[in-house]
Symmetry: C3
Subunit: 348 residues, 3 copies
């Protein structure tokens, strides 16, 4: 794909300053851009780069006053940052603009396939599946029996969705994510072996959820594991059976949430956090990376840290003293010696 | 699938109280059940739900005495809980009752395929593979050269098994699990680069093992990485080369076990635990989530916690004091001041 | 594959002591080897096993003097350890010696496929892809649009590479690894929802990189996430967008590196380590497993431990005192009592 300054200015409702026919075929940061790249300058802090950049085109604000001559062709717009965001999104839309049914793929005759979908080669769409309009199922992806997928959703290559799960509209699931595998439920027997407890529930991903690559979300034992609207899960997150995650909550990579935990809305869990089972975390809570949440949090909008987690500032203070522990121990020894002497004195 | 109260009562050797022809098509918890659902009441604590539930059928104990009228049709049985478990299992068996060879799939002519197996579309069964009777290989699953798989085992979609690995009977492997990838072995060279050490061993999963989704189990450098009978591994567990895990041990999600570690039988490792290499953990040990096991544990049946892990109760006590550290530091300062004064006094 | 002692001795430039025609078909450790196995003895510590082993052939050093009679056929060489390594590598080369194009696979007409490659069944090679000579793409692997892969590289079954990524020569990527999924970037809106920030960069894996199974490496927001020459990543490692990892750095399993972090060359990160975003770690740093790196490390070649990480020996000292905290608290209480009494005395 190649565009001229003129074409881009037209798209952004901007004005060209320089060569209107200079072509670009990629987007780049102003400090890294080479010939053929389009960049932008929004933050005055980076203005220096404008005069040295090798970018062919730079989008700038209307009110920018040049301090030096510029090699690049400029496109002046009302707001350079948001104009560039528009281009980013358009660029990505074009990149991901797959459609049609590639062969060979497997679509069960009983599946209902919407309009304008993409089904990649070696994708598997099982009996009774409903795939909504404009949704994309990339190659090597597996959709088991009776799964329902809404509109405008994208399942990248290698996603696996077990039977009966429900996926909303505008959902993005990255490669290798597993939706609806069995919850980890076993009943111990007298002889030390474990009997599997059948996991017959499902997983529901509501609208606008994004699931990172290789994240795993287990089906409920009964009922549903529920990921509410707008939740964003990073890569390699583990969500156990019967968990519920509230709207617009964000979970960073490698965090694990144990069975039946309830995470409130607008919560932020850092990376590598562990949450034990059957507890709840209040709305707006923020949990630092590597923390362990071992009990229910009822106060909203607080920060937590440590394993076991305590209020963030308490953790900070304790961590500081931990570094001084060897010294503190010596000070105690010193005090003990002095006191032993004082006592001797006072006895005499 | 739809069943009447009469049919279910017959199956469970129970008696119907109400409409014998009322149909159900799903199982649900009594407090969540709607019309068309079958539920059960075993724990008297939940008896209140029996009078308000919308379930069409509820399985109850023979000896239950109704305190109020009930809308639902009842099925009375000896033991409502175990009757319901029987239904759960039957339900799941029907759900997972795949068989036959779907096309296109790849089965090497030299592979030996048992009776009544399922091989899904886009599954790959390499040269020399043996697949036992009643085993299931779901779509997009890869079984490399000379792998042996026993009877009644299920490999869900997207499982990858490297060459020469051995999988027993009644094994369940969930989507995205990788069995037999190379151990992480490299020899440092003088120039700072690393030379790969060939990993020519394999992985053995004994009977009745269950492996969670996206779990990884590396092949041994030489010999075998061994997962003994009845071991249950949750999702995203990492098992390094030459590890051995004893019978009926349970490992929760995101735990990592380093090379050549030996985990005893009937051990329970919580989630996100780390185990260093070349150590052993005694039979019956229980390790709290997020702990780090840094040395061999020889005493059996003890609980451990912390990173580095110490006996569970010691860790609990230390954690409590850690919260008071800033206060303790102040108390030491206070003592130092007082003593400084006392010394001044005693000098005078 | 079966070889005689004579054939192996010829290959290793060694001399046979015993039956030159005895056949072997596997490699094994001397203490575990059975009939038909070839083993080696390099470390004198294990010499006892030479006299009891069931191995058919044992490779030994030229200068070994036998203390007892030996059942096995011996092959004497200059250096038994390196001779065995040569065999290991040859064995593995044979095991992994796949080539040709298996059907059905998907190769877009615009893709450029080198000489002597392997493309397994159900592999997907998208538009504009370049696959270098002698590289292997195993079954069920997905290579998206315009990806470039060098020579002698191996992508095992189920690897997924998103569009525009670049993979060098002699790279090994294990099953289930995801290269180039979207970075975790979202902008919060006033109504509490998050807007996705388009991720238009790519991932570059330089020559001789090895990536473990189910590891995830996100594409850059703009520019590249870069894994430099000779880096070795273990299983289930998470590398976020715009990270850069320096040459010959080794990262153990389940470690997570947050966005825009820069890891220097020849660094060693243990397992389950967390690294926060936008920091850098100096060349030669070594970080203990389960540590959390929360700030930039500028000193080279130091050891770090703890979460938050501090110099390794400081952490060791603090950890020791943490175990004594309950006792220290009692000692402080004791001191307080004594001092209270002393003060009473001194007041009188």
């Amino acid at each position: 794909m190649q565009f001229t300054a003129q074409e881009i200015a037209f798209l952004l409702n901007g004005t060209v300053e320089g060569d209107p026919l200079v072509p670009v075929n990629q987007l780049a940061k102003i400090e890294e851009a080479g010939a053929g790249a389009l960049s932008f300058l929004a933050n005055p802090k980076y203005e220096q780069y404008l005069y040295s950049t090798n970018a062919s085109i730079v989008i700038v604000n209307n009110d920018l006053v040049l301090a030096e001559p510029v090699k690049a062709t400029l496109i002046r717009v009302e707001n350079a940052y948001s104009a560039f965001s528009v281009l980013l999104e358009k660029y990505n839309t074009i990149k991901l603009n797959k459609s049609g049914i590639e062969q060979p793929c497997f679509i069960h005759p009983s599946a209902q396939i919407g309009q304008n979908v993409y089904v990649g080669a070696f994708a598997y769409i099982g009996p009774g599946v409903k795939l909504g309009d404009n949704s994309k199922v990339y190659p090597n992806t597996y959709i088991a029996d009776n799964v329902i997928i809404g509109k405008n959703s994208t399942l990248f290559s290698g996603v696996k969705v077990y039977f009966d799960c429900v996926i909303g509209d505008n959902v993005i699931i990255h490669s290798g994510a597993i939706i609806g595998s069995d919850g980890f439920g076993f009943a111990p027997s007298a002889d030390g072996t474990y009997q599997k407890i059948s996991q017959i529930g499902n997983v529901i991903l509501e609208d606008n959820v994004e699931v990172g690559s290789n994240t795993t979300i287990d089906r409920a034992t009964m009922g549903s594991t529920i990921i509410r609207k707008g939740v964003k899960l990073d890569n390699q997150v583990q969500v156990a059976h019967n968990v519920e995650i509230g709207e617009n909550t964000v979970v960073a990579a490698q965090t694990g949430i144990s069975g039946s935990a309830k995470i409130g809305e607008s919560v932020i869990l850092g990376g590598q956090v562990g949450v034990v089972g059957h507890i709840s975390i209040a709305k707006g809570s923020q949990v630092q990376g590597q923390s362990g949440i071992g009990r229910t949090i009822t106060e909203e909008n607080k920060k937590w840290a440590g394993s076991p987690a305590v209020p963030y500032s308490n953790n900070m203070r304790s961590q500081v003293v931990i570094q001084r522990l060897p010294e503190l121990e010596k000070r105690i020894e010193e005090l003990e010696k002095i006191i032993a002497e004082l006592r001797k004195d006072s006895v005499h």
